[in-house]
Amino acid sequence: MRALRAELLKLSGIPSAWVAVVVGLVVPFAVAALNAGARSAGRAAGGSDPTGVDAGFQELAFGVIGVVVLGVAAASSEYFAEGGDSAGGRQITASLTAVPSRVRFLAAKAGALVLAAAALAVLSTAATLTVSRVVPGEFAAPLTSADAPRVLGVVAYWVLTALLAHGLTLLTRGGVVPLVVLILNTSVVSVTYLLTRVTPLANYLPDLAGARMFVRTFRSSVEIPPLAGGVVMAAWTLALFGVAAAVFLRRDA
């Protein structure tokens, strides 16, 4: 418990983590507001609205870069320090001196990350869904209780993505490679989406399968129910984090 508190405190002391919070809150909110404005204008002019049911959710799917940065920063900050005052310290040695059990250390670290990512996801989801429903006014597709599982899906997607990014960074120890891979893959035409054109199996990659939890309109020939998508993503996360943990337990710090 004390290790968890310490990890939360450490996380809040990383400047990049605050960059992550700002990105995670502002990006989906701002784009959703812009889209909602464009959408209500289009609807008022009599146009159709094919993405109405995904309004807000679509934006949250790529707002996930906020927690990607959070997961990367939480791991890479242990291995290098940058900035005007840094003398190139490796914090991991101090961390493991304080918490010598690597299992306990990793559990505390993952726990702190899950809490922070979930909190960020809840705040960002609330803000984004609100703006995407308020701006179009009477044209908005109202949120019903049937949408509650989708909101849970967004939070699960963000938390699992944070853990994926964290696991990847524990393996590479540097932040650049995981950041490039994961941000490029959040772009409008993602690498995994290009892969689905080569093989339908690519639909079962973690990001595409996980997004089924809350995005309803997909340009894809493969149908994956929301719950199954979540299970597929959780399995990927568990596997990757398992490998990262095994490596972390065995490798010199």
């Binding site: 320090a81 005007g84 054109r197």
Partner: protein, 276 residues
Amino acid sequence: MTAAARLPRPGASGASGFSSHSGTSGPRVVAGTFRAEVLKLLTLPALYLTAAITWAVAPLLAVASVSAAAGEGNGPGPGTDPGLAPVGYAQAGFVVLGVLAAASEYRGGQIRTTLTCVPRRVEVQLAKAAALAVTALPVAVATAGSGVLAARAALAAHAPPYGAAGPVDAPGEVRAVAGAAAYLVLTALLSSAVATLTRGTIPAVTVLLGHHFVVGPYLAGRTALTAYLPGTAGLWPGGGTGAGEVLGAGGRWAVVTGWTVAALGVAIVSFRRRDA
């Protein structure tokens, strides 16, 4: 020659090139500093790795994205332009190149060593920018060249309007490669300026890639404002909106260059004023 023999004699003003009090001229300091900065870049293993991965992966992704865009039956546009499509993914590599080049000074306090050797902050930054441009250029030409060729070959497999309808027009190809390479070098410079401001790789990479790959493309279809933002949208007529041309070719290059120059300017001013 012994080390002692190479040291400047006391009173031999300007002989060493880094004395700030002896009236050494600015250009000489910049020339010496430039050589040192190129040497520093060439001894960073991370830069070789980044360049190699970019050169190897970008053409593959260019082929995949061009085929996907053509396969969807989109009309000829930014996604199927063989001169521009390869730049899309390759620019990630040049963002990393620029960020690593600048942020490597902020690991282990190397910046203080640099400024002890050359206590002239503006000249150091100018030399750094020139060194980065010179080292990034060959990588950019190689990446753009292979990317344009790969995209062209991938498009040739599709029916017109994508397939090569006529003979290959050599000046057009050279222009496409030169434009793409110039854009990639400017991207590296812009990225190094951002990293000089953030003094860290992660915030700089987040902001730049987040803009170039997530926010920029997403806004491009919705507002013509993106024509005035940095990023590839600035290279396309109409900022990629498909709503007609917002800026002429000259205007588009002015936007891309303007952002880079402005960012370098802000970085130099802040570097001059901040504690190192």
